[in-house]
């Protein structure tokens, strides 16, 4: 289907805001079950809506009307940002719905809670994606045909799950270490299931807009739409697609209005359509229009975060690992419990942002990690999150004692089995030793083994005595 002249520019914007947690002290556990900083969430949402979502949506709608179907973009809205729009900025949701009705905007599926569930197991991941898909149908009236994972996390395995769910394409980072000599400017497909097409982010051209746009020290400054179109023309003529992926908040929030970012976006479609061979296409359109040039091997997960393009921003230290492990250890029970309030908190607690705040990379490479970060440091983030998670567990235990009982029973059964096994082995050992013992007795007839046992027993006794005296001592000290 692709002809040599046809080239695609794929613009994709991520829209996400987490429910930030309030300061939650340990002594509130079991008493207070509300976890969110409403004031902060509302004020950040209102601020970003005024600076970015509303004006940028307006501009994109204008461009769609002006270019009569030739300007096409892709968005992904997390389930949480949709919830926040409904609470704090319903007019933003209205304007996204208006975009959806133009037919020029594609919305991607993803995990409902911007979670790391793809790193735990297939079932949790799939469940979250279908929750999100239902949300998209309910609030935007569209059913997603392609998918993006949280922070563009992708691996061969995750890709195969996406394919199994029937998605046509996904997007991820054009990370140097997976591409090698290959170019991100072609369509690829999943290794396990080639039906899933993979679009790779051109980080050079994406970050020129997202990070470098307003940097006066950058050689490309000031960036205009014409200059940008010129760069596209300088790419290898064989290039078929250029994937420009970024946070939607780039427009008006990361790059403020005064930097001219909106003007850049306003003139971009004209410059691209008139001066380059590229056309605007959405993710699924690219997947339909082009043939994959090869499979892309991603044995271990990558993401679009930080210099390393790996998972270390969320799973890079002991704090993060402990928190993620603790969180997902509860998943089975939450699902079988099914209480609505619990499930809502369960969803919000999964947001990858909570783990991002715990990154100790923050100390060295802080700028991005500090963005909208409600905590002074990763330790505080961890402490607060774990306190909340502990309360969540307390609630889970008290609200769903039945399933708790079941799992407890299962656990006890397991440990009984394990003990039986140990006992069996020990019995074997004992009988063996007894045999040897009787042999030795026959040969030597000494009493040594008995003595040994006695010595050990007194040793233990001595130790425990010491313990009690220690305690007595300290008690006496406190009375003085």
């Amino acid at each position: 289907m692709s002809s040599p002249q046809k080239k695609a520019l794929c613009l994709y914007f991520e829209v996400h805001q987490p429910f930030r947690l309030r300061r939650y002290r340990f002594f509130e556990m079991g008493n207070e079950h509300y976890y969110y900083d409403d004031y902060m969430n509302e004020s950040i949402m209102r601020k970003v809506a005024e600076l970015c979502y509303l004006p940028a949506n307006r501009l994109i709608l204008d461009l769609i009307h002006k270019h009569k179907g030739k300007f096409r973009v892709t968005f992904s809205l997390t389930g949480m940002v949709i919830d926040q729009f409904r609470l704090y900025a319903p007019e933003v949701l209205d304007s996204f719905r208006e975009m959806a009705s133009t037919g020029c905007v594609e919305f991607l599926a993803e995990t409902n809670s911007h979670s790391l569930s793809s790193l735990t197991n297939r079932e949790i991941f799939m469940r979250q994606v279908s929750t999100h898909r239902n949300k998209m149908i309910e609030y935007l009236g569209v059913e997603p045909t392609s998918i993006r994972n949280t922070e563009l996390i992708y691996s061969d395995e995750i890709g195969s799950w996406m394919a199994d769910m029937g998605f046509k394409a996904t997007v991820t980072e054009g990370a140097k270490h997976i591409l090698g000599w290959k170019s991100p400017n072609f369509l690829y497909c999943n290794t396990i299931n080639p039906r899933l097409k993979v679009l790779l982010r051109n980080y050079q051209l994406s970050d020129d807009i997202a990070f470098r746009f307003s940097n006066p020290g950058w050689s490309g400054y000031p960036l205009t739409a014409d200059k940008y179109a010129g760069w596209l023309n300088e790419l290898d003529p064989a290039s078929e697609i250029v994937n420009i992926f970024m946070d939607y908040e780039t427009f008006g929030e990361h790059q403020k209005k005064e930097t001219g970012i909106f003007d850049f976006l306003r003139y971009l479609p004209d410059a691209i359509l008139k001066k380059t061979p590229y056309n605007f296409m959405t993710v699924t359109e690219v997947a339909d229009a082009f043939q994959p040039v090869s499979v892309i091997h991603v044995p271990s997960p990558i993401s679009w975060a930080d210099e390393e393009r790996d998972l270390t921003a969320w799973m890079g230290n002991d704090l993060q690992t402990a928190a993620v492990t603790k969180l997902y250890s509860l998943s089975e029970r939450v699902m079988s419990c099914g209480k609505e309030a619990l499930i809502r908190d369960w969803i919000y607690l999964q947001a990858s942002d909570h783990f991002y705040y715990m990154s100790t990379k923050f100390f060295s490479d802080g700028a991005v990690h500090a963005y909208f970060n409600p905590y002074d440091n990763p330790y505080q983030a961890f402490l607060n999150y774990m306190n909340i998670l502990s309360d969540f567990e307390i609630r889970l235990n008290s609200e769903c004692p039945e399933s708790d009982h079941d799992t407890e029973l299962a656990r006890l059964n397991k440990s009984v089995e394990a003990r039986d096994e140990i006992i069996r082995q020990l019995e074997l050992k004992v009988s063996k030793i007894e045999k040897e013992y009787s042999l030795i007795q026959k040969k030597v007839g000494s009493e040594k083994p008995v003595k040994k046992v006695g010595a050990r027993a007194t040793g233990v006794k001595g130790k425990s005595e010491k313990k009690t005296t220690e305690i007595k001592k300290s008690k006496a000290g406190s009375k003085r």
Binding site: R25, F26, F27, M29, N317, D318, L319, T321, A322, A323, T360, F363, D376, N377, Y379, Q380, F382, L383, M386, N387, S390, K466, K467, T469, E470, I471, S474, K475, G477, S478, K479, R480
Partner: protein, 428 residues
């Protein structure tokens, strides 16, 4: 370059952070090639480590019947013999206790040379201030009998000595502010001490403060020109013993430790209140308040009225290795100081693999990343941090690991280099 340094105490005869810090700095300086330090203390005991410095005790200098001519005033002063009975704290009660317990000090007083011998008045304020003045007089003798390029005086007790040495020699004076009376008194400053401190700061060519917290106090409260005041952070001596053995613990409970003088400056009451909060949620934890001080009895009464004495223990004053044993037994170290110019003890805790919680009102908070920092009055945050470190092993583990890495980088050599730079600037 030769440095004439005036201190107040020298290991092993130290009562607090001042002696530790001035010793550490001296060691750091000694490691630099071209620096030679003459360290003067009011009283030398003879068993000090003299490998790195030449230590001079003011009590060993024969000063009787000497006439010193001050270069600035040309006023002649007849010298007198000095015996010393000295503590680096202005708290009358501390001083009273020390006087009572240390009989040998009294002996020293009585044993001074008959000629030029001085009677001590007996009352606290007059005696200490008297001693400071005597120290200053001896220092002028020392200054006139030794060759040096720069004078360095540690803390207010030694400022008059530094001033006197500068008056005699005309050499530049650097004073080192380890604390101010605003820290010690909680704002209720002793006007005489304030006067000595301010004179020292004004007379100095350069002022070194142990943190920006202290630097701000020097600038704002003493009205010193900011350009004259520079912060050089303290460091910590590497652990002497290579293997850190966890001492035997008689109880399986977790231990949370406060270690320091039990005085208003150290914020012991906030520790007790935080303990109460933690104990309301956790049972397998014990709190230890190690140290002594004028607020100890009040603290015991408070613990009793909160009904936590079964879990809250007082050890009294700890000496030498007991300190490290206590630290080694601890799971969390808390320093809730109301005003702490620096605070070396959290660094020692970190060396002993203990996570630390420190108040934001401490100088050490400026250099540490891997420590919990709370406002001293924020007992909720303090309790929360204690609970978190005890309950979430990943947190404790990270603090221990990163904290150790961090504290190992705080070297006296680095501080000494900065001080050396300051010397070079004032000598020019």
């Amino acid at each position: 370059m030769r440095v004439l340094m005036f201190g107040w105490e020298f290991p092993p005869h130290i009562a607090g952070g001042l002696g530790t810090a001035s010793y550490g700095l001296t060691r750091g300086l000694a490691a630099l090639n071209d620096i030679e330090v003459l360290f003067v203390v009011p009283k030398a005991w003879g068993d000090e480590d003299q490998n790195i410095v030449r230590l001079i005790g003011a009590n060993t200098i024969p000063v009787a019947f000497k006439t010193i001519r001050y270069s600035s005033t040309l006023r002649s002063v007849e010298k007198i013999e000095v015996g010393s009975k000295l503590v680096p704290y202005t708290d009358p009660e501390d001083f009273w206790k020390m006087t009572r317990s240390n009989i040998s000090d009294t002996d020293v007083l009585l044993n001074t040379n008959n000629e030029g011998k001085i009677e001590f008045s007996g009352s606290y304020g007059a005696t200490l201030l008297d001693e400071i003045q005597k120290y200053a007089i001896v220092s002028s003798v020392i200054a006139s009998e030794n060759q040096f390029d720069v004078i360095h005086a540690h803390d207010w007790l030694a400022y008059p000595a530094g001033i006197a040495a500068k008056a005699v020699s005309g050499k530049p004076l650097v004073i080192h502010v380890h604390a101010t009376d605003f820290d010690r008194s909680g704002g209720n400053v002793n006007p005489q001490v304030f006067k000595i401190e301010k004179e020292g700061m004004e007379y100095a060519d350069k002022i070194i403060t142990v943190s920006n917290l202290t630097r701000d106090i020097v600038i704002k409260k003493y009205g010193i020109k900011p350009s004259k005041v520079q912060t050089v952070y303290n460091a910590v001596e590497p652990m002497h013993f290579t293997e850190v053995t966890k001492p035997f613990r008689g109880v399986s409970d977790k231990i949370v430790t406060f270690l320091g003088r039990i005085t208003m400056q150290k914020g012991p009451e906030y520790f007790i209140e935080a303990a109460k909060m933690v104990l309301s949620k956790m049972s397998d934890v014990r709190f230890v308040m190690a140290g002594s001080g004028d607020m100890m009895e009040k603290m015991i009464r408070r613990a009793a009225s909160l009904n936590i004495t079964d879990r809250f223990h007082f050890t009294g004053f700890l000496r030498g290795n007991d300190v490290f044993t206590m630290l080694g037994m601890s799971d969390v170290y808390v320093m809730p100081s109301v005003s702490e110019p620096f605070g070396i003890s959290p660094l020692e805790a970190m060396q002993s693999n203990v996570p630390v919680i420190i108040s934001k009102q401490s100088g050490v908070a400026e250099v540490l990343t891997h420590a919990v920092k709370v406002d001293f009055w924020d007992i909720e945050a303090m309790a929360d941090a204690i609970y978190g470190i005890l309950s979430y092993p990943a947190l404790s583990k990270t603090f221990v690991q990163k904290g150790k890495e961090e504290v190992d980088k705080l070297k006296w050599e680095k501080a000494a280099k900065q001080v050396h730079d300051i010397y070079l600037r004032v000598v020019k």
